[in-house]
């Protein structure tokens, strides 16, 4: 289906232009820029819903396509389109951005117009990443994302923000330039920059492995996978709450999305050859990083490490497929694993956003993220405590919440592949519960630890609105994930058929 009017372009450029407008509105009347930003974010969200209502479930083809020449002598086109893999992530992006804008309403007092503008521009750019079907367009959006995030962490972040933001920038920049060289190489081979043409491009195994590794450098840093995850705890801890939310909820997903859009379909044979590497890195993330999370003293750091562990499930779900495919007697686990990875991405988008917002609520009041500074918060903030406990349960993968669905699907798929892989993956149910619930116990429950906690005010309506909407999303996705799975079903099935056929 092609749209009568360019919905995708509207979803990309409305927030970018709106963001520029907000930046120009200045800080003389901060409320005007705040409201303007909110209106733009809500309008973008409503526009993006049109992608859902107009979406055709039973095809894996790209929908809402737009294709106009951009740099003709390079065959680079402004080519946009979505399928069942990218569409949910776009709506996730537009939804989370609204919450981030509301969450930063009062907290951000220094140059609020620039703050709001940075998030809006980033929203448009991230939607661009998810909808680009031209490799060069994708790369431009992918890199452009770094600039607003660099400023968000650096300007509004914590005490060690400069170190964190430069580390974040250089890590991602280093990873992505290798991807750039791989893209140019494939352009040279195929004479086209279209991602869909890359999917059908014939490549030898050595070429595939080198290209796969170049992509891995870019995506593994973004996801982030062990051992290139070290920028994430720093960036999360120093970023303002909104920055942490966008980082965890959307940016990490862009790495996972890259595997689905680039690595798997372009280099299926290399993915098969090197599946042990990714599965190994994923399991280390799940198990080892889980234990690292256990010993954290800082709430944001703990959630950052838990994000790495949860994203390990995503990459595990994607690459477990090759082990299952290699066993002809096993049937059906391939699609389950991939869908599990996708569900996990969306679910983690909600849960990690909620967890960071909860920490943000506490930080705004106490200006501390140390677990030991808290205790007995439930006595002074009962409503908040209810939310926090709920989201913590979701983070630990409690059935009925969205956190359960994705992890469960991936674990079941892993069982089809190999018992011991599944066993290792399933340890997260214990370790994840341990680090999340232990933190909740120390922060929320017990006696009131000190005078500061005693003076805490419960959440206001604005905060309640944000947390409630996330709670609804987590519950709906947990109890009834079927609509999401329906959307991605055709695209994932198509991808699985594609990777099952060797390209050599």
């Amino acid at each position: 289906m092609s749209a009568d009017w360019p919905i995708l372009s509207a979803v990309i450029w409305l927030p970018v232009l709106g963001g520029l407008l907000v930046a120009f509105s200045g800080d003389k009347a901060p409320n005007i820029s705040r409201w303007l930003a909110l209106v733009v974010a809500v309008l973008t969200f409503l526009l993006s819903l049109l992608l859902y209502t107009g979406f055709e479930m039973n095809t894996a083809a790209m929908q809402f396509q737009e294709n106009i020449p951009w740099i003709e002598s390079f065959q680079v086109n402004y080519h946009l389109g979505v399928d069942g893999i990218s569409m949910p992530l776009i709506i996730l992006t537009t939804f989370i951005t609204i919450l981030v804008i509301i969450a930063g309403w009062q907290v951000i007092q220094y140059k609020p117009s620039q703050y709001m503008a940075a998030f809006l521009i980033m929203e448009g750019v991230m939607v661009g990443v998810f909808s680009a079907l031209d490799a060069m367009l994708f790369y431009v959006f992918w890199e452009a994302m770094l600039i607003p995030m660099f400023l968000i962490i650096g300007v509004w972040g914590g005490p060690n923000r400069v170190y964190a933001t430069i580390k974040f920038f250089l890590y991602t920049f280093l990873g992505s330039v290798f991807m750039l060289v791989a893209l140019i190489y494939m352009y040279f081979q195929s004479g086209s920059m279209s991602i869909l043409d890359f999917h059908t491009l014939k490549l030898g195994l050595t070429e595939q492995i080198l290209i796969f590794l170049a992509f891995l450098a870019a995506f593994a840093v973004k996801v982030p996978m062990w051992p290139v995850h070290t920028w994430l705890p720093d960036a999360h801890v120093e970023a303002p709450t909104g920055g942490s939310v966008i980082l965890a909820a959307i940016m990490l997903k862009i790495g996972g999305y890259g595997f689905l859009r680039f690595s798997l379909p372009i280099t299926p044979d290399a993915s098969k050859e090197l599946d042990w590497l990714i599965i190994g890195m994923s399991l280390i993330a799940v198990v080892y990083i889980g234990f690292v999370a256990l010993v954290q003293q800082d709430m944001k750091k703990l959630i950052a490490y838990s994000s790495i562990a949860h994203m390990g499930f995503v990459t595990l779900g994607f690459f477990i497929a090759f082990i299952i495919l290699a066993k002809p007697e096993v049937d059906g686990g391939v699609i389950l694993g991939m869908q599990g990875g996708m569900v996990q991405m969306v679910s983690h988008g909600f849960i990690s956003a909620a967890m960071f917002l909860c920490v943000g609520v506490l930080y705004d009041r106490m200006h501390s993220r140390e677990i030991s500074d808290y205790g007995g918060v439930v006595n002074t903030m009962p409503w908040f405590a209810a939310f926090m406990v709920f989201f913590a349960m979701a983070n630990a993968g409690l059935p009925g919440t969205s956190g359960f669905v994705g992890e469960f699907m991936v674990i079941v798929a892993s069982f089809r592949a190999d018992f011991w892989l599944a066993f290792l993956a399933a340890t997260t149910l214990i370790v994840g519960a341990a680090y999340t619930l232990w933190m909740v116990k120390r922060v929320i429950f017990g006696d009131i630890a000190n005078d500061n906690v005693a003076a805490l005010q419960d959440i206001n309506k604005r905060e309640a609105l944000v947390l409630t909407s996330l709670a609804i999303a987590v519950l709906v996705l947990g109890l009834w994930p079927d609509p999401l799975i329906q959307i991605m079903d055709a695209s994932i099935a198509n991808l699985v058929n594609h990777i099952a056929v060797p390209k050599l």
Binding site: W70, L146, L170, I184
Partner: protein, 484 residues
Amino acid sequence: MDFNASTLLLLLPEIVLLSAIAAILVLDLFLDQSKRVFTYGMSLAALVATMAAVMLGDNTSQVVMHGAYVVDAMGSVLKVALLSVGIFAFIYSRRYLSDRNLFKGEFYVLGLLAILGMMIMVSAGSFLSLYLGLELLALSLYALVAFDGDSKPGSEAAMKYFVLGALASGMLLYGISMIYGATGVLDFAGVAKVIASGQADQTVLTFGLVFVLIGIAFKFGAVPFHMWVPDVYQGAPVVVTAFLGSVPKIAAFAMAMRILAESMGGLGPEMGWQGWQGMLIILAVLSLALGNIVALVQDNIKRMLAYSTISHVGFIFLGLLAGGDKGYSAAMFYTIIYALTAVGGFGLLAILSRKGVEAENLHDLKGLNKRSPWLAAMMLLIVFSMAGVPPTVGFFAKLFILDALVNADLLWLALVAVFFSVIGAFYYLRIIKVIYFDKPESEAPIAANADARLAISVNGLAMLYYGIFPASLLAVCQAAIAAL
């Protein structure tokens, strides 16, 4: 090749500029200091008129004046580029100079003479006219660097520049004499013909090539002939740095194209280790490495940008050595964009300098976002363009070079280039860091004239415009190279 009056029409841009220089030189004598702005206005008008003459003139490829002068599309495009960048450099200079009692006609006359020299270089058809243009450029620049006679670093830089520049000119001349000895001709087309016929003495030719290449590398400031760059950039008044750090790169590119591609293009791998392409590989890799690494530890922005220039020269060389229409047009795109970016970067420093205060250290930029969000945003675009981050145009400049390298089977060089770009990103981020993350040291408002404000806005937004629509400029470069 007959001479008649219509030949002069092809030289109209140079004639217009030369007449304007003569007129300005005389008129300026009769102006009070209070009316000096008239000289400034006339100089800008002269540049605009010259640009109009270039644009309206015929640019179908032809060689006139007995091979000394070439008209072609590449020449016209490069002339328009250097004139526009020159206009930016002049506009940024006005308030800076008048704050320091340096607002004199000589600045503009010397600048215009340098531009005239560069136009001759761009259109040179033989080694002699090229050398003529080069010396006119160099002599004007020596004087400009020492323009603030009371400044010790300025005089020292000028001295250094002069001695090293004279040495490089000598090398170049020596090389030219060798080439003349081997081929018996001085015009580029003739040299190319003799080389193609295979009758020239290869040893003498190789000697000549090496010395000529040293001259080119010196003008670009490529490692190991870069020693003058940091000292001259730092010592010269910032408005002079803005001029000499940007416009001459375009002329140096023309010089490299005329000598290496047009006349020595036939010197292929048979003459030793990959010919001049192989020599350029060494120069390019060294420039990328040294420029990016040494820039990391600089606290003086002028010096930092000087080392950054060296690394950008490495990129330009990569495009040149990749060769072919793709490589040459990529290098041409890169050079024009780099000149535009560099003039903006130094121009912003000139805007930030106040009476008695030079904005030249990193900490002088502290908290710029607080003092002037608009100027900070422009600097953001310029710096990210230098770093090569999309959506600014610097990314596309690098992309086209990388594409040309992959196309020429030089994947390893592409990897080296991106690796050093990442290292380079760090010092560019330092500039952004002080602008956005640090608290301002002084809250003094930034007094910039309307003309400078407009120029820096156009300059900064051009980074974004050409980043979003790079196709237009690229098509111009490709057409110009294809017409060679």
